[in-house]
C-alpha cells in the first residue's frame, strides 16, 4: 500500500539546511486523514520549518512532502484551496476591518456565499461585534480568533496550526481549543498542530510527534508516551526529552 497516497500528509526523509545550520534532519511521518497530531518541541526544534515545508512556503533540501496526494511545493496549486493555516509569524493588514480582511481571503479561496460564511464564522467565533473594526485595534485574543476565522474560511481538509493559542489567556485558549475540536468532529479535517502547550496537545491530539534539534525524538499516542516515560503529564515527558533523560528512560 502506498502510504503517501493513503495519508492526508506524508513526510519522507525530510531535510532542511540553511547554510551551516540544519533545521530539519531527515524526518518521516504519515498523518491519516481526519486525525489531529501534535508537533512538540522546544525553540529551534524545527517545528515551524516542518510546517512551512508542508505548506510549500519553504523548499526542502532533501526528501519529499505530500499533501492530499500532491507533492509540495511543486504541485501546491492542486491543493492550496483545500488547505489553510494559522501562525503567529504572519498577520493580517491592520488598517483593514475584520470583514474586509476576511472577504478578501474568501475571494482568494473562491469561497461560495462569502458574506454568509463570514457571518457564520463570526457568530461561531464570537467576532460579530468586531467585524467592522480595523484589525489593528483588536486585542491579542480577538486577533487570534480572526486568524482562526481566516484559517477556517475555505473549510480546509488540511489545517496547519502553529502555536494557535500562544499569547492567549487560559479561558480564551480553552475556548479556541473547543472550536478546533468541533471543527474536526464536524468536517473530519486533518489537523497538524505545533505547540508548546502540553495541555492543548493532550486535549486535542490523538498522536504526538516530539522533535528536538530537527529530528523526531518520539512519536506515539499521548497515553503510550506517558506510560513509556513513566510520567503523569506530557509536560514531564517533554522535559525528559528536552533534557535528554529520554535515553536513560528507554535504555
Amino acid at each position: 500500500m502506498d502510504l503517501a497516497a493513503a495519508s492526508a500528509i506524508a513526510v519522507e526523509n525530510l531535510v532542511k539546511r540553511y547554510k551551516a545550520a540544519t533545521a530539519v534532519d531527515g524526518i518521516s511521518f504519515q498523518l491519516p486523514a481526519g486525525t489531529v497530531t501534535g508537533l512538540l518541541g522546544g525553540n529551534g526544534a524545527g517545528k515551524t520549518t516542518t510546517i512551512a515545508m508542508i505548506m510549500g512556503l519553504v523548499t526542502p533540501t532533501a526528501g519529499t512532502v505530500s499533501v492530499l496526494g500532491a507533492q509540495m511545493p511543486k504541485q501546491r496549486y492542486r491543493v492550496l484551496h483545500r488547505m489553510n493555516f494559522e501562525s503567529p509569524y504572519v498577520d493580517m493588514p491592520m488598517r483593514l476591518t475584520v470583514r474586509q480582511n476576511l472577504s478578501v481571503f474568501a475571494q482568494l479561496y473562491a469561497v461560495p456565499d462569502a458574506a454568509g460564511r463570514i457571518a457564520s464564522l463570526a457568530a461561531d467565533l464570537d467576532l460579530t461585534e468586531f467585524l467592522d473594526r480595523p484589525a489593528g485595534k483588536l486585542s491579542a485574543g480577538q486577533k487570534t480568533r480572526v486568524s482562526l476565522a481566516k484559517s477556517l474560511l475555505n473549510r480546509p481538509d488540511v489545517l496547519l496550526l502553529d502555536e494557535p493559542t500562544a499569547s492567549l489567556d487560559p479561558d480564551t485558549a480553552d475556548w479556541v481549543r473547543a472550536r478546533l475540536e468541533r471543527y474536526r468532529t464536524e468536517t473530519g479535517a486533518t489537523i497538524l498542530l505545533a505547540s508548546h502547550n502540553m495541555n492543548e496537545v493532550e486535549r486535542l491530539c490523538e498522536r504526538v510527534i516530539i522533535m528536538k534539534k530537527g529530528r523526531i525524538e518520539d512519536d506515539d499516542t499521548p497515553a503510550r508516551l506517558l506510560a513509556r516515560y513513566g510520567r503523569e503529564t506530557l509536560e514531564d515527558v517533554f522535559l525528559d526529552v528536552a533534557r535528554g533523560r529520554d535515553r536513560e528512560v528507554t535504555a
Binding site: 525553540n43 496549486y77 493580517m92 488598517r95 474586509q100 482568494l108
Partner: protein
Amino acid sequence: MSDTGFEFSLNRVAAMVRRYWYLLISSWPRLLDLIYWPTVQMLMWGFLQMYVSQNSGYFASAAGVFIGAVLLWDILFRGQLGFSISFLEEMWARNLGNLMMSPLRPTEFISALMIMSIVRLSIGMIPVTFLAIAFFGFNLWSMGLALAAFFVNLILTSWAIGIFVAGLLLRNGMGAESMAWTIMFLFLPLTCVYYPVAVLPHWLQYVAWSLPPTYVFEGMRALLIDHVFRGDLMLEALAFNVVLFGGAVFAFLKLLESARAQGSLLQGAD
C-alpha cells in the same frame, strides 16, 4: 487543477485589487501624498520654465519641455513606486505568508500590483495635469496618440523595475526596502529626462540608449521642439521594454524560488 503558477484567475486578481483599494481609502494622508509631490514638482519646474523661456529664445520656442519632462518622469517614477508600495504593504503587514499559502498565483499577484500602480498613478497625476493647464497653459492631453505611446512605454519600464524590486524584497526581506524608494533615481540622469542624449559623454550614450525611457524623453522633445512624432523611437522603446519586462518577470520567479529555498517567506521561522 494545474500544477504550475501560470493558471490565471481574474477573480483572485480582483480580490487583491480590492484589498489594496481598501488600504488606499483607509488613510487620507496617503491619498493626499499621491497628489502632493507631483504637484510640487510640476509647479517648481513650471515656474523655472517660465523664467528660462523669458530669457531664452530657444526655450521660448519649446514651451512645455520642462513641464512635459517632469510629468512624464512622474509617470515612470510613481508608476514604479505605486507598484512597490503596494507590495511593501504586504511586508509591513506580515501578510506575505497568508498570500503565498493561498491559491493566489505569482502572475495574479503581479497583475494586481500593476493595476494598483495605474490606480495610484491616476489619483496622483490626473489632477496635476489639469493644474499644469491652469498655471502654465501646458496641456499634456493635447499630445494625443503620442501621449499614449509615451505612457505605455514608461509604465512598462516602471512595472519591470517594480517587479524586479519585489523579487529582491522577497529574497532579501526588508533589507532591500531602500531599493524600492531609490532605484528609479539611477534612471534620472541616464535616461536624459531634462536634456538631450547628445549632452552625455559618447560612451554613456550607449548606456542611455539601452534604457527604454530615453527614447520616450527624446520623443517628447522631438514633439515639443520640432513638432514631429517619432514613432520609430516609440517602437524601439517598446522592443527594449518587452525584453526588460520579460527579464524582470523571470528574475522575480527565480528570486521567489530562492526565497522559498532560504525560508524568507515565513518571517520569524525558527
